[in-house]
């Protein structure tokens, strides 16, 4: 594996006396699309918040290019699941995206063009002047993704970004994000509880078990790209991965 761009080193998190994560450690390679899957309560969201520098683990650390992540940095952008709460309702779509440009101190002159470019990429060119609450859920999540991309992050952290969208919208966004991230050679850490989504999107899938959260298995996904909602999901290896990983999720959910 290439020199990792990011790593978790024996990360342990407790909330009070309750252990949430127990010595979680793995690397993320540059340009990799890494999916993190696990049952509810396995601490996958907590792990992503550690990666973003939003919480500090009691033990271990998250490392970006060998340096510990102690607080949020523009190089790591996070996309939250609850898009309706993560967007500023008083700013237009363009204004929300521009927020990230302001944060990283982009020169004022170039901002409008950059916002326009990002909204074009993410399919929101016609909605720039609308307010977020006037858009559908899928559109709102696109705004949040555009804002994250405006940070020009080295790593895109996504926390169940498509979890509360309907099936059709979810599939459309899966394909777009996969295409976009591969085209832009974007490194991604993608958290989901949906095993098929993890296999469909990932170059590797890290499976966590719950109570406390631990890494149980890391699987390389050797499925050809670009992936396709029909053929990829019917691919023999897709089913093989699904069988292999399913046990880890089902076992814990059943307890």
């Amino acid at each position: 594996m290439a020199q990792p761009i990011f790593a978790f080193r024996d990360v342990s998190v407790r909330f009070g006396a309750t252990p949430i994560l127990d010595k979680v450690g793995f690397d993320v390679a540059p340009e990799e699309f890494l999916c993190l899957v696990g049952p509810s309560g396995c601490g996958k969201t907590t792990l992503l918040r550690v990666a973003a520098g939003l919480i500090r683990p009691q033990e271990g650390r998250a490392e970006f290019e060998g340096r510990a992540v102690a607080e949020p940095t523009p190089e790591l952008a996070i996309v939250f699941q609850d898009y309706s709460r993560a967007l500023l309702p008083w700013r237009t779509v363009a204004g929300n995206v521009e927020l990230a440009l302001e944060a990283r101190g982009a020169p004022r002159a170039g901002r409008a063009a950059e916002v326009k470019r990002l909204l074009g990429i993410i399919g929101l060119a016609d909605h720039a002047q609308k307010f977020p609450l006037q858009l559908s859920g899928g559109m709102q999540q696109r705004v949040q993704i555009a804002r994250a991309l405006a940070q020009r992050p080295r790593i895109l952290l996504m926390d169940e970004p498509f979890g509360s969208l309907d099936a059709m919208t979810r599939q459309a966004l899966q394909d777009e994000i996969a295409r976009l991230c591969k085209a832009e050679r974007q490194t991604v850490v993608f958290v989901t509880h949906d095993l098929e989504e993890a296999i469909y999107l990932g170059d590797r899938v890290v499976a966590l078990e719950a109570n406390p959260g631990r890494v149980v298995e890391i699987v390389e996904i050797a499925l050809p790209r670009p992936r396709d909602q029909l053929t990829t999901r019917e691919h023999p290896r897709f089913l093989e991965y699904r069988h292999r990983l399913f046990g880890h999720l089902a076992k814990k959910e059943a307890e």
Partner: protein, 255 residues
């Protein structure tokens, strides 16, 4: 508002005024105490024409506006801080709750010693009365902010002060606007009260002068005028809210 609704709304007040006129003319009510509409309206028009009402209105409104602005300048920042820093709110709670029930009129003798008969007398007492609604509403509005929004601010790399300016303040603004509107109504009421009780200026003093010179129709003319001015200001402030907080109303389907 449709014409029909406006006309319906006028039925009751017009009937009341007609009953008033008839009762006085029939000798059921004393004309010295109650005057009558057919004398009040000409008195009002005369006062407006010769500029006395306008001059008195300016005195009262300038003082009310001044006091209201002071209350806003103290109440909004203080409310933001108290709403964001929970321990500070607990620390100041007793002080605030002890000061709040003090009748604003009780300040008149003290403030009179400091400023004498002046605009500042009206304004200071009005500021005291206005401070509480602004402070309490702002604190509550800030406490009700979606935590995710502030976290987005952190994740984007905004510092504490920038988070207040870009996230907390706009998010709390719909609540603060209501507090400011209520407070301005209070400012006018208190300014007029101070003028009636002590300060020889403005609309309140004009009313008391008319009463003492046994000109009941002029007294009522001022009373109606104060009501009209208060109503117009309230309407203007609602309009301003709807304009400046378009995003808030747009999301609620009422433009």
């Amino acid at each position: 508002m449709t014409l029909r609704r406006l006309l319906l709304g006028l039925v009751f007040p017009v009937a009341l005024l007609a009953a008033w006129e008839v009762s006085v003319r029939a000798g059921l009510l004393s004309e010295d105490v109650f005057s009558r509409i057919s004398r009040i309206v000409p008195a009002l028009l005369e006062g407006l024409a010769d500029g006395t009402i306008v001059a008195r209105t300016y005195e009262t409104l300038a003082a009310a506006l001044f006091g209201w602005a002071i209350a806003a300048a103290i109440g909004i920042p203080l409310g933001l801080v108290l709403g964001l820093v929970r321990p500070l709110e607990r620390l100041t709670l007793v002080t605030i709750e002890a000061l709040r029930p003090v009748p604003s009129a009780a300040l008149i003798p003290i403030v009179l010693l400091i400023f004498g008969f002046s605009l500042e007398l009206d304004a200071t007492v009005a500021a005291f009365a206005c401070l509480w609604p602004v402070l309490i509403v702002t604190t509550g509005a800030v406490r009700g902010i979606e935590p995710r929004l502030l976290e987005v601010g952190r994740a984007l790399g905004y510092g504490a002060l920038a988070r207040i300016w870009h996230f907390a303040l706009p998010a709390a603004l719909p609540g603060i606007a209501v507090g400011l509107r209520v407070a301005f109504g209070i400012a006018i009421v208190v300014a007029v009260t101070v003028e009636i009780a002590a300060n020889p200026r403005g609309l309140g003093y004009a009313m008391i002068t008319a009463q003492q010179s046994l000109r009941a129709e002029v007294m009522y003319a001022y009373l109606f005028w104060i009501g009209l001015v208060g109503w117009l200001i309230n309407v203007a402030m609602i309009r301003a809210e709807r304009h400046w907080l378009r995003w808030y109303w747009a999301a609620r389907g009422a433009a």
